[in-house]
Symmetry: C2
Subunit: 206 residues, 2 copies
Amino acid sequence: MGIAERRQKEKAEMRQNILDAAMDLFVSEGFENVSIRKIAEKIEYHPSTIYLYFEDKDSIIFELHNIGFMKLLEKQMSIQNVADPVERLFAHGRAYLEFALENQHYYDIMFILPNPTIKIANCPRWEGKDRAYDLLKKNIDQCMDAGHFSGLTDDGLAFILWSLMHGIASLHIRRGVVLAEFYEGQTSNLVDYSLTMLHTFVEKLM
Amino acid sequence: MGIAERRQKEKAEMRQNILDAAMDLFVSEGFENVSIRKIAEKIEYHPSTIYLYFEDKDSIIFELHNIGFMKLLEKQMSIQNVADPVERLFAHGRAYLEFALENQHYYDIMFILPNPTIKIANCPRWEGKDRAYDLLKKNIDQCMDAGHFSGLTDDGLAFILWSLMHGIASLHIRRGVVLAEFYEGQTSNLVDYSLTMLHTFVEKLM
DNA sequence: TGACAAAATCAACAGTGTTGATTATATTTG
DNA sequence: CAAATATAATCAACACTGTTGATTTTGTCA
């Protein structure tokens, strides 16, 4: 069965090629300007060929969406070794914001663009979001175990914190609104500013 | 000059017709499925005719974006008579969320879709966002004058609050993530839940 | 009524996602 | 090795999309 195995590997490589080309175009040409035909041209295949590897265009975007969640989760896992639970929660927030601003196109696909949402609706149970959410909630629980955030629920705080982080990230990515007052072009500025705000803020909740 | 005046009025009516048709399609057919040709069919004109009234498709969306900001501002003005500044701030938040969830398509155009952002970039100074932002900041300032939120800046708090409200609204509109835990289909549920959270939260900041 | 300007239409261009039929390329069998 | 078969890639076409220059219809005024 060595041959079927190789077939499978080639298929996977081709899928990856397509995904890479799509992501490249996404970054270089922007949102709307990535087309099946341009992807095909980039990998030097006929447009039809892509349909042998993906059901349709949305499936490609959905796959990029999944890859983005993998990357986010990986980044979030990398700070789980921070000892103090509150510090860990801040690191968690920083990791989220850094991910969003350093991978704006992934973040766009994951949380802002409508296309993946459509696919998710047809996807009975997609665990990516749950894993990210559970990780946040676990961190919050551990803060609570350490005696913080009394009077709040973990779900409630998770809801607020995620919404806040997403709000900051997405208002930035679709800028022109609100953030012009703070933002002067450097990503780090916004992350630092936001984290300072988050500190001021979460400390009052503790 | 009665004739030129009528001409102008007819032109304005036609523009409004186009905008109405576009918004209808937006609501009924959804995001991507509104095309110049469908708008034309709806108002029973030839597609080309639309280009006599709008420069291009993005201009139509940009105009809807502006109308949305007018509506939001109007709603926010309507609660400015609440006497207590802190109560007024909460009413402000509620108005924002209600607007977002009751006019999801407007909110989408205003804050989520990429198209208007492109047009804004070419628009040297578009005051819509400023007016909404200034109103929020004014309310915050008045809370501060009443002795609340010591140790915070008005810009900082405005940044946090707007980001939070936008995060809640946009995660809801592009749902499937996070909110499934809370959201059970009724808009009012989410508004009430969010407002409860906001209360718990802002009271600790005071 | 004829001249002129404004409004609407037409036909076409280049681009899009997608698909059924067709050709080329491997792989397996006789 | 050659024939038969399964897989991969291409092709041509369909029905869309936004947009525009040329053309026709409509309305207004002398």
